[in-house]
């Protein structure tokens, strides 16, 4: 097997480009006029990158069969680690009050939730691939939903709503890829819609009315239909108590997403400064390392959550489009691998990775431009963070291996 066959060329090329781009931006994020914790993170990220690439190459050598076999064990370990994290976890950085880190003797080892995401991908892939037929009814979706919901709930308790959101992204992507009907996906998601529609009586009424129409149109089993309706009513009723139960910062994040100018010096600060940084970039930006919002520390978390704002400020719209195009290329390369995978498990794993990365990219990039509410989830290849980088590369290692299988044994173009 020569080198060309060992690596999926588009995937490798795009990954390499994103790594270089991300590292350059991370270097720039450390170039400030005021002392910053981000000053030398690019060097540490480089070390993490080397480690991650090594691990990815090792993962690539592991047979998908072995991985499929060990998926339940990995999933169980993941759940266990999440429970341990809840018990002894510590906070860090911008999320200092949450318990998302595992630390031993004061040294933070990593955020286990990043790896649990992968474990969920593997577990879901194994479950869905093991069935002769795709889940056709809502009742058959209960198991896959639980596979994702249990770790998501544990992560949400840390609390880390952003990561919990990623589990939903993974779940829906993989259900879709497994062939679950769109109507069932809509019905599955409907209670969440109901939750947000409950903000106002008229919107909730309209949603329930629409849902009734959809149920009549799609005609699921009666009990399932009633269950969906019941779930929608239930979430609509508990919406308000739930909102009041949310921590103030979580409420504020959501409110300042809707209107950042509500409290510009406090909760709206992040999103306003991010928009100013991006908006001041214009077509070509202020120049590499020259962004004033970043240099003068107006831009918060410029090396982690808001690293993409640095792209917007310093490289302008052109830089943003290049980055988005690279991300799009990465995801389509993965979709292609998923499509060509020789067997359902590999295909589902790769598409689960697509769901994982896509959720991260969309949520993080959307947050910097006020398209999505602020949740502190990192941007692949750009945000500083060892655990996540490593998890990404493990995922890419898996995808690369599956691509190789596809090339060697799989279906050709149609």
């Amino acid at each position: 097997m020569n080198d060309q066959a060992r690596f999926d060329r588009p995937l490798t090329a795009v990954t390499l480009a994103l790594c270089v781009y991300g590292l350059l931006i991370l270097f720039s994020a450390g170039q400030t006029d005021v002392p910053s914790a981000a000053a030398h993170v690019w060097q540490r990220q480089l070390i993490w990158l080397a480690l991650s690439v090594t691990v990815a190459l090792l993962v690539q050598r592991v047979s998908p069969r072995l991985i499929e076999w060990s998926a339940p064990a990995l999933y169980a370990i993941g759940l266990l680690v999440l429970l341990v994290t809840l018990a002894i976890g510590t906070g860090a950085g911008t999320a200092a009050s949450s318990k998302s880190w595992i630390a031993i003797g004061g040294h933070r080892l990593g955020q286990p939730s990043e790896f649990v995401k992968l474990a969920v991908v593997l577990m879901l892939a194994r479950y869905l691939a093991g069935r002769r037929e795709p889940p056709a009814t809502l009742r058959e979706l209960v198991v896959p939903v639980l596979i994702a919901a249990v770790p998501a709930g544990l992560v949400a308790l840390q609390p880390d709503l952003g990561s919990a959101l990623v589990f939903a992204g993974i779940l829906f992507a993989m259900l879709y890829w497994a062939g679950v009907k769109g109507s069932n996906l809509v019905l599955l998601a409907s209670p969440v819609v109901s939750l947000f529609a409950a903000a106002a009586a008229w919107s909730w009424g309209a949603w329930i009315f629409l849902l009734g129409g959809l149920l009549l149109l799609w005609r699921p089993y009666v009990w399932e239909g009633l269950a969906v309706l019941g779930a929608n009513v239930a979430t609509g009723i508990i919406a308000r108590p739930m909102w009041q139960h949310l921590a103030t910062y979580q409420q504020n994040r959501f409110l300042s997403f809707l209107n950042p100018e509500l409290d510009p010096r406090a909760t709206g600060w992040h999103i306003i400064q991010s928009k100013i940084a991006i908006g001041s970039g214009g077509w070509l930006g202020q120049g590499f390392t020259q962004g004033t919002q970043k240099r003068l520390a107006f831009l918060p978390a410029q090396h982690t959550d808001f690293v993409f704002s640095v792209v917007g400020e310093e490289l302008g719209f052109v830089g943003v489009v290049v980055a988005l195009a690279l991300f799009f290329a990465l995801l389509t390369a993965l979709v292609r691998i998923a499509r060509r995978a020789p067997e359902p498990f590999g295909s589902l794993v790769v598409f689960g990775i697509v769901g994982l990365l896509f959720t991260h990219i969309f949520e993080n990039v959307g947050m910097t431009a006020n398209v999505m509410p602020i949740t502190g989830i990192p941007l692949p290849f750009f945000s500083y963070g060892g655990s996540f980088l490593l998890a990404c590369f493990v995922a890419l290692g898996l995808a690369s291996r599956i691509a190789r299988e596809g090339r060697d044994f799989g279906y050709r173009e149609f």
């Binding site: 001041s280 107006f298 302008g316 979709v335 499509r339 295909s347 969309f362």
Partner: protein, 630 residues
Amino acid sequence: MSGRNAFHPFLVAQRGVVARHVLLGVFVILGAAFFRLQILQHGRYELRATTNRLRPIPLQAPRGLIVDRRGEVIAENVPGYSVSLLASNEDSLRAMLRRVEQVIAPRTVSEERVVGRYLAMPYEPALVLKDAPFDVVSRLEERRPFLPGLVIQREPKRFYPDSSLVAHLVGYVGEVTEQELGSEQLADRRVGSIVGKEGLERQYEDTLTGEDGVRFVEVDALGRVVREEGAAVSLAPVPGHPLRTTIDLDLQRFVASVFPAGKLGAIVAMDPHTGHVLALYSSPSYDPNAFVGGIDPDLWERLTTDEARPLLNRAISTRYPPASTFKLATATIALRRGLVTPASRMPIPCTGGLRVGDRVFKCWKPAGHGSLTLEQAIAASCDVYFYQLGRLITVRALLDDANLLGFRSVTGVDLPGEVRPAFPPDIGYYDRVYGRGHWTSTVALNLAIGQGEDAQTLINMVRFYGAIANGGTILIPRIVEGPPIPARRLEVAESTFAAMRQALIAVVEQGTARGARLASIRLAGKTGTAQNPGGPDHGWFIGFAPADSPRVVVGGILEFGLHGTAMAPIVARVIEHYLLGPDRTRGGRSEPVPLALPEDSNPSSPTGPDSSQPRRPRRARPPVPVRTER
């Protein structure tokens, strides 16, 4: 879908196409969001990025110079340092202020005032010290690492080289108050701006003030100054326009030097043909430099509570009874109404008093002057003659013509704080004050000799004598150069003025002001002794020279000077100094001027307890002199 392989390649490919389209759609939406922010709203966010990081530091424009008629400097600018602080919030400002206070003398900075300035304009540096000494500046500079928002600015500082000699003329500058910011004239100023507070500085504020410039420093998110220079293009300040005054600084200094030290009063010198003020001095004076950069509260306390009221400009802001200096006004009214000629005599010769009904109006000279012409009566300042002249004119005509002669209005001199002279507006005034039928026409007797309800400012009397000197034009006195501005003309024949000038020459040659006679110059003038119910009388002298073609008119008032003859030699020396130049002035330095010659001790008012003179006003009028201060 049951019974079919969900992973049939065709279905997988189909889902793959859908997935790619969904992905493409989402990325296009993201791209559109960035397009909106970065391209469509670029201008707005670029502006916000700029206001985020740049803090404007005003560059104070130097005020225009104030120079005298020869270009000699009255007010100039010297370099000074201001210390201010940039802060991101009130707490950090207070913390920095406490560190500043460790360096500077305690109690020189009011923390609340600085915080107030900060709250008024949080994005501009809050002024801490307007005029910091160099050692304080260098000590603060050493501590810059602990004072991240420190801004030390070189700023022009006002300086008056002649200090107290020109104080009432030039005034002083100070930081604009909140009240002034609300006024129309100073509405465009900022908190911390320097504005003229008094004198020419205030009167010509708009001319003297330049346009402040601005420079920008770059700050970080916590408001700490990161870059001082080159952060953005700065705007240089535009200096104010210079002000060329008509003041003769040499004469001004001379006036200040000959004015009796420690005495209260004022001297005004004017060019009778143009109305240009050559010198204006009020005593006691103060040091205007003490006000620049904030006056020491103790000094302010002393200045405002001092009995002598040094801040009061006695040349324009204090009214004194004009006394005998007003006799010339009475004569002018009679002459222009054609009631008398310069050679006219009154029916009753002076025997030391005039009996009206059962009341005797005394002349200052108990022995009497005998029968006099108008010219002689002016020279001798004979009260009996003027009693009769006043009766001849009648109260109504006196009141009517006083307006014409400008005894009821401000002169309009270009200095702030001039008070309006007091003179009864009409006959009704007496009805209101004393009640109808409770006063007699004898008020005309008092008015005719400059007593009674008549109080004039020095500048107004000088202006009137200027009109006698220039042949009848009443001018608006001016301190800043410009063409003469005639206010009104006295419709009197030139020959009449000539006669009056002759009479005024006689005052100096043989009359009440003999002590002021000058060897080389023919001086014309008139003394006056204003009765002061609160103490010794006030002495007036107003004179001009050369008598036949006057080039300068000088008036002086000496509070508690006892008699006009005390003022006369001082005024004479001022005139001599002006006309002959500094070299010819006798003595050079000021010599004590004898306060003597009480020959004109005037008591022109009732003396006996049986006096039938109108009763003193019970109300309505404060005791003269009326001093008004701003």
